[in-house]
């Protein structure tokens, strides 16, 4: 399978982050679908099964990313999900899936800090897509 056989859904309300992520993914060869809100992401998920999804945590509400993870896993349990946010790990804010307790109900496969290098992101994606 080639990277071009995979379509990655990216949802982020920061237009610059969205633009850059999509730009980098397409440069790597993936197909992409970009949406700017939880609502748009939900309507995409209803009609279409992406190969992988990258969700921002805070969009219309502080927990948009959680809800999207939950909904996409319910519909397509085999689609890997990356949850991305700029909330720092070190601040100890509750948005991480480090603890077992969080893992039990946050349905993302991995959690990434924004500001990650494109090469790193690609490596994580290849791992999740078993490329």
């Amino acid at each position: 399978m080639n990277k071009s056989d995979f379509t990655i859904l990216v949802a982020d309300d920061d237009p610059d982050y969205l633009f850059q992520t999509v730009f980098n993914l397409e440069k790597e060869g993936y197909k992409t679908m970009a949406v700017e809100s939880q609502a748009e992401a939900e309507s995409v998920i209803a009609r279409f099964k992406p190969s992988l999804a990258i969700f921002d945590l805070m969009m219309e509400s502080d927990d948009s990313g959680f809800i999207l993870c939950y909904k996409i896993k319910k519909k397509y349990p085999d689609v890997p999900v990356i949850l991305a946010t700029a909330v720092s790990h070190e601040t100890g804010l509750t948005f991480s899936i480090d603890s077992e307790q969080d893992k039990s109900w946050i349905r993302a496969d991995i959690y990434l800090e924004k500001g990650i290098r494109p090469e790193q992101l690609d490596q994580e994606i290849m791992k999740l897509l078993k490329l």
Partner: protein, 378 residues
């Protein structure tokens, strides 16, 4: 040996007796705990009964079913949160409703025990909760000193400051790698967007400075007679260029000549923020109306607009730091999320009140009342 009281509120008798049976012979130890914890279980079949027991026995841990015959589990949570009771709450629930789970988490529930549960599942949840309760009590002192609030503020602030930096870094890396082409013209959009993000960050920093300033102590010598209409006019001039772009008509209606004793910078902060919001969140071709009036004891400022409005739900958090109402209509409007929290702090500094009334797609009215009599600023 310490005993923790566990209250279980569930309308199914089987669940209640199950919890009693499982926890009666259970104890929790942990290396850094001073002592072992054992459990005493109290049962309630309804939320109402639960609250009664809560008031009488003050349990340490609450296991709470959401679906109850009378008041719901989330109502009990709300009751506890409002009174600031030091009780760790775990919801007994099926994972079916994530929405409930998230709302419950916000209201203070720290764990979810799936129903039906095995003895082992209940034990490991209780173990987890006991440890958290222990830690919570250790950190209680820290919270009392207000450190936690400051910590959270800094956490969100770091998020707000890092987002534009991430955007800039991404664009610069794109240019560094010449990823969109060889010519500088190939990067017109990234450059334009970078400049906009810098402007956004600058606004945030300016707001932060205001925010810090109003938290600092007031010097008495800065308090002077301030003419409300004059400050309002200056603020209108500042916002005017933006209003012209938006084709918003700003009208000042001075019904009474109001002079109060205040630091003029503070009054300027109030008008600048509210008038610029009245333009920013307006419709193209809309109106912003500033009314200055007075009662016997108070100055009354009314700032109304014909803009996108705010839903009743959203008005609740409107004055909280870094809360920005995110929806389709506000998507392209930039803001620091600090403006209204700053306004509220200033108003409260002068022992005044601020009220908001809004109808989505019709407009928003902010009413501020400030005492006219000189007061001691706290």
């Amino acid at each position: 040996m310490a005993v923790l009281k566990v209250l279980v509120i569930d309308d199914e008798p089987g669940i209640r007796s199950g919890v009693s049976r499982i926890l009666n012979n259970f104890h929790v130890t942990y290396p850094f705990m001073d002592e072992d914890y054992t459990f005493e279980v109290i049962e309630a079949g309804t939320g109402e009964e639960g609250i009664e027991i809560l008031e009488k026995d003050m349990p340490d841990i609450l296991l709470l079913d959401n679906k109850l015959p009378g008041i719901q589990g989330v109502d009990v949570l709300e009751y506890i949160r409002k009174r600031n009771y030091d009780i760790v709450v775990a919801m007994i629930t099926s994972y079916a409703s994530l929405d409930v789970a998230i709302r419950a988490t916000r209201d203070g529930a720290i764990d979810f025990i799936p129903k039906p549960f095995t003895p082992q599942e209940l034990k490991s949840s209780i173990e987890n909760i006991t440890k958290q309760q222990y830690l919570k009590r250790i950190t209680h002192k820290m919270q009392q000193e207000g450190k936690k609030v400051r910590y959270q503020f800094l956490a969100v602030l770091s998020h707000e400051l890092k987002a534009p930096l991430n955007a800039l870094e991404g664009y610069l890396r794109m240019m560094q790698g010449k990823q969109a082409g060889e010519l500088i013209d190939d990067y017109a959009t990234p450059i334009e967007r970078s400049l906009q993000r810098i402007q956004g960050m600058r606004n945030l920093i300016m707001d932060l400075l205001d925010f810090t300033k109003i938290r600092l102590e007031r010097k008495e010598e800065k308090i002077q007679e301030v003419n409300m209409a004059e400050v309002a006019s200056t603020a209108i001039v500042t916002v005017q260029p933006y209003a012209i772009q938006m084709d918003v008509n700003i009208n000042l209606d001075v019904r009474a000549n109001v002079v109060i004793m205040a630091d003029p910078d503070d009054i300027e902060i109030i008008f600048n923020n509210l008038i610029s919001n009245a333009v920013k969140y307006n419709k193209i071709g809309g109106k912003a109306e500033i009314t200055i009036d007075s009662s016997e004891t108070e100055a009354i400022l009314i700032i109304s607009d014909t803009g996108i409005g705010i839903t009743k739900n959203d008005t609740e958090n409107l004055f909280t730091e870094f809360v920005r109402i995110k929806n389709e209509k506000t998507r392209n409007i930039s803001g620091s999320g600090l403006g209204l929290s700053i306004v509220k702090k200033v108003v409260e500094l002068y022992h005044g009140t601020i009220k908001v009334e809004s109808t989505p797609d019709v407009g928003t009215v902010f009413t501020i009342r400030l005492p006219k009599k000189p007061i001691t600023i706290t």
